[in-house]
Symmetry: C2
Subunit: 296 residues, 2 copies
């Protein structure tokens, strides 16, 4: 294990940004405005937490960087599409994302709609037009994994729960159910897809699965805490919107202290799942630390 986490993350983020530049359609390719807007929505933004999780899981299973770039890009494109659609006026109606005007503000609503649609398609295109596994049936399983994590029983379903929950008094299990779908399943998919780019046993997958579920939920709990505390400048997106929209969060249901405690318990459970992996899981452990202890 060479170098500290910060330099590891920076190296991967930088290389991944170049990969995304190349995997997205160029801005001069027709229809130009759509392709420009797709690049605007994806490039130069975000912490790339999901790609980093994929890279870290791939280190554990001996995956090649070339394969990991594709798997990480597919997951990040799904995440980016969900942000573009989530920011639209009929959803969260947000004007600021990653410190920049949201896609429909910078372009227009119709373009933002097509940008989200096209980014989702591109995710599945990437996973099928690149060779990711010697066994094509395993690669098909990877595509299926991303589809299930993204669809109406995954991320999009979680967003539908979120819509329906506005103004309602959710229980903790209901809130957990919502977030496992809205955020957790795609984070879990990032880890499993990264692992699948290399050689991984079913026993290892099962442990990575548990790790993924824990950090996925912890990510959302910490998000709620940060959203309740941070100001807009620090967060890079409009802060306090969840409370404004009367959306239930871990903070509104549990209070800040108990929400922080919950994040720490999930953190410990995530680390426990990696106990047998030794040094090769160091980056995954550091990412769990980053997710739980981040300030933005």
């Amino acid at each position: 294990m060479q170098g500290d986490f910060s330099s590891w993350a920076k190296t991967h983020q930088s290389r991944f940004e170049q990969a995304l530049q190349q995997l997205l359609p160029t801005a001069d390719l027709a229809p130009q405005r759509l392709h420009q807007a797709m690049r605007y929505a994806v490039l130069d933004g975000g912490k790339r937490v999901r790609p980093l999780l994929a890279f870290a899981a791939g280190e554990l299973t001996g995956a090649s960087l070339a394969h990991l770039n594709i798997a990480a890009a597919a997951v990040e494109l799904i995440h980016a599409y969900s942000l573009v659609h989530d920011d639209m006026p009929c959803m969260d109606d947000d004007v600021l994302r990653r410190g920049k005007p949201t896609c429909h503000v910078q372009y227009d609503e119709a373009t933002a709609l097509l940008v989200g649609d096209s980014l989702q398609t591109l995710a599945f295109q990437l996973l099928t037009e690149h060779h990711l596994n010697e066994d094509a049936s395993k690669q098909l399983e990877m595509v299926k994994l991303l589809a299930i994590a993204s669809g109406s029983r995954g991320m999009a379903g979680g967003q539908a729960f979120d819509l329906d929950s506005v103004g309602k008094a959710l229980t903790i299990p209901e809130l957990e159910f919502m977030h496992i779908h809205k955020t957790g399943m795609l984070i879990r998919a990032a880890i499993l897809l990264g692992a699948h780019c290399g050689n991984v046993s079913d026993a290892q997958l099962s442990k990575l699965d548990h790790f993924g579920k824990c950090v996925g939920l912890a990510f959302q709990v910490v998000d709620d805490v940060l959203d309740s505390e941070a100001d807009t400048a620090t967060l890079g997106k409009t802060a306090g919107k969840d409370a404004d929209h009367n959306k239930p969060t871990y903070v509104t249901l549990l209070g800040v202290a108990a929400a922080r405690e919950m994040a720490q318990q999930l953190h410990q459970s995530a680390l426990d799942a990696l106990a047998d992996f030794g040094d090769s899981a160091q980056r995954l452990r550091e990412l769990a630390d980053f997710i739980v202890f981040r300030k933005f």
Copy 2:
């Protein structure tokens, strides 16, 4: 070849409707409102032209109905998602589709957005969770084919061209470029995916590809003619909207007579591509007839 075209089509439409009923998430599955709206947007509507093309191509290559149902459903879900998003206020702002209120009118805009997103994902999920070809690498090719036909260099790209073309004076080649993407590529994909469910040679694929391109473009030319002539009741959607929106069509560029002539030339070229296939391509020929000579 048993029975006439009309009874063949009705039998397949009816069986396909049952398949869709089973392939879509049930309405009592959480999140219920999203799943109800997905079913509303897909079931009990449309001529199912793309599925019929897939079934006809599959008859030519000896594909099983079980496999064809999945391939046809994937294509139809992509088509249905595009209609839901296309009808939204930020796009065509249409209130009527297949004689029923559009999805965002019946539910709400946020739900319609998520319905389109989730239908797209489900298309890719279906193509990966069902066994469609003995060779998994060929099945991966099928998923890739659908992704390319649907994305920013396919259907969604065609819609972006369409947006950009409002109020502009397009040339015939520009209009053709737009429609090949917006409508043609998914129709071509339906035919090729149906063929891929069975045994098909590269030479056959090449001919089916040409057939698909011709009927795909003919479909749009005829759509323009019908839109310029029909009333809303016959069409099941708001008629004359293209002219109202100052959108270029084959009718506005060529006039009705020349547009009809163009459709007939494409029809002949499509039939020519099937010359070597004999009786097994009879349903494809009849579908080409239906597409060009339909009255709705």
